[in-house]
Subunit: 232 residues, 4 copies
DNA sequence: GATGAATGAGTATTCATTCAT
DNA sequence: GATGAATGAATACTCATTCAT
């Protein structure tokens, strides 16, 4: 997700809007670094060393440090790209006619972005990367998410006690499930999205069918056996 | 939870079932190490160094390595201890008269165990520790959890498409929420348990009240700002 | 001191005496670099990176390397500039009527130049910059300093065993004191100049008063506590 | 100086007085590390890397870090050894019958310790190594040095305006001279000690002879040419 | 058996210097 | 000629694991 996303678009151009554009070769390397970082962080988490990111990008580690003050800044840059993507999703959801469908669709798309992106989850979970980005995220998201939730509550479709701040938690939970089954059943989170959707609606006579089948016991065991690099 | 649990029980014999019993002092050291590891891993995650575990246990690192082949084996051993604890919870739940209440109570207790136990979550999430332990877990759990789920489905209370393998995912999702709000609102996971419960029941006319209030926007921001040691 | 000095004078031609003059813009850049380097080296020592020097000068690092083979050569060039300045001081001292006063005044002015010029002290102390510059310095200085010392000895005012080569050492010692008390009492070196002056005169019945008060014990402790970036 | 000093004596035993003695092999390595560090720091200053210290000591870098929390602690440990040595010198000087001779002898011995010990000078000059050591030094030195100075003033031999805090500066200045001529004429500082001594006495009819000859001009040039590792 | 000492590969980051634009 | 991008060796420090005492 990170890997393609909106990466190529204008926002990722020249080091930001405030400085003059990078030289072509520099910009090319910057993009390579971002792409390499996105790839390895997505798959293996933020623990990957910058040396490895550099190797992956085919540049020297010094080049990484020329473009990004430190690891945090690199991570943050990717974070901002993702945040923008998530915000765009929210905006599109607000344009949907049915408020409930908007909420559902929004959650689905958001979880899709998070699913399998180990690094993005770590970013959200451990905000070891600085402050302003977090504020930025909140400022960007809060109103949009608030609107989506409130619209769905106003029609009486969403339960009255649903709060805006529940949404990040729901996304987080789904992404946890997604990460866990990353290699065995990357789509499994959709199952739990349905469960949560059913839990969020204000009343219910029928059951939303679970379109994604549960893991088979063997699959669960394989999932539990999966090897992930390291815990430090 | 980890700290006492059922640590003393059958599983804690030697370093497996196949070797002769340890001398008493050796066994005492083994227990000390497990207790110390449980404590620090619970609070600070699996990243804590074995030197520190040893210091905490009042033994040398060498002793740790004499009792456990490597860090992984120590972690696995604790994992099995937890599995036993969780299995005991399942057994008690099976004795409850109302199948639906049994399921709810079981999930609640399981999530309680996971909540705030950083290390256990990492164990579940990153099963870097291999081997027969996982099979053991499955063999221990599967029938119990299966029974709980099937009982609730048999009465028509739980939705028919709920699967046994959904339970670990639900527990995992709740523990993610718990960990995220660890310092701001450690109980928040109960809110999402309710949502999931409502999503799991087969039909619904009324809403289970959310007894735990949602995070205020400021709380959410504080949560996002929390700094966790490192991503490696 | 470095900053203005005699920077514009004869030495500042091209990159030596043997090549044709630089284009005007090149020469302007060269001067900018020298000025910037003088400024930062004076204040923060020779450890400042060339990137920073370049930024300070408003040019690219590449330009620095086009004008100076390496960092050493830049440092040497500044060294020569300083030597010229110090030589000018010596020349003016030689014009003073009283030989003893000339010596005293010369030392005072020399020490003033060194005091607080971190970089210049490092240049003197660690002549990592090789070459003909040192010979140049000797050729420039030796006769002037020799004349000053000999004049003072000829009148019997300076002790007979004072040597020309003592002068750089005395200057160095004073600059050490100056650097040490840089932030607490930058003028303290004058105290020790007086002591040395009294030690250099051939006989003495009265004591030259120490116009600069000694450090208070607290000041000394503060001085000892001062933290200087790094020892590499 | 560092190299032999009092290094072998009891104070350098087992990691301090407060912990149980190290195992023999550990103590042997600790001494090796200290010896290696003393040697390289003495000759090349505190900039030498710990990897190199370790290599010099014939141990892995991890071993250095096992014995000393960080570079600072290693440096401090050596510093404390030297401070003790310097304090012992002061104490012995106080036992000399002639107060003036005591002062002279004290300065001479102190300068002897500092001379040529690049690292020790850096320690005194840049207290980048923590705080308590500095306080320790002051508390250890101040009274002793104060007594030496005051005794010499009380007899009228030392000039009345000499202060206790002048002593560290004098020692520093001499050590600067010593360092500068380290390879060409390591004893040259004695010449300037004489000058300062003559400047410190309260009156003078005769001149203390300068027993150490001044540098020849060629020697001075060689000194200026000396190469010292690096300025960063 | 227990201890804790030793090891060294691994991590983030800096900076002199070279070279493509 | 000027620029600044790229490089990579170097530095302080950590920690899982092995091995001498």
């Amino acid at each position: 997700l990170w890997k393609d996303g909106m990466a190529g678009s204008k926002d990722s151009g020249p080091a930001g809007q405030n400085s003059r554009p990078l030289r072509q070769d520099a910009e090319r390397n910057r993009q390579r670094i971002l792409a390499a970082a996105a790839e390895v962080f997505t798959e293996r988490g933020l623990g990957v060393s910058l040396d490895e990111v550099a190797r992956h990008a085919g540049v020297g580690v010094g080049t990484v440090y020329r473009r990004f003050a430190d690891k945090e800044e690199l991570v943050e840059t990717l974070f901002v790209e993702r945040v923008n993507e998530l915000a765009a999703i929210a905006e599109r959801a607000l344009e949907m006619p049915d408020p409930w469908q908007a909420l559902v669709s929004f959650l689905e798309q958001w979880a899709t972005v998070l699913a399998g992106n180990v690094g993005l989850r770590q970013m959200l979970l451990f905000a070891t990367y600085a402050g302003d980005r977090v504020s930025y995220a909140r400022e960007t998201f809060a109103p949009l998410v608030g609107a989506i939730v409130n619209r769905a509550k106003a029609t009486g479709q969403a339960r009255a006690d649903l709060a805006t701040t529940d949404i990040p938690f729901i996304a987080l939970m789904l992404s946890s499930a997604a990460e866990y089954a990353q290699y065995s059943r990357p789509e499994i989170w959709r199952r739990y999205l349905t469960l949560l959707i059913d839990g969020m609606c204000s009343s219910r006579h029928t059951i939303t069918p679970l379109t994604v089948p549960a893991l088979l016991p063997e699959e669960l065991e394989a999932t539990m056996r999966q090897r992930i690099p390291r815990h430090r």
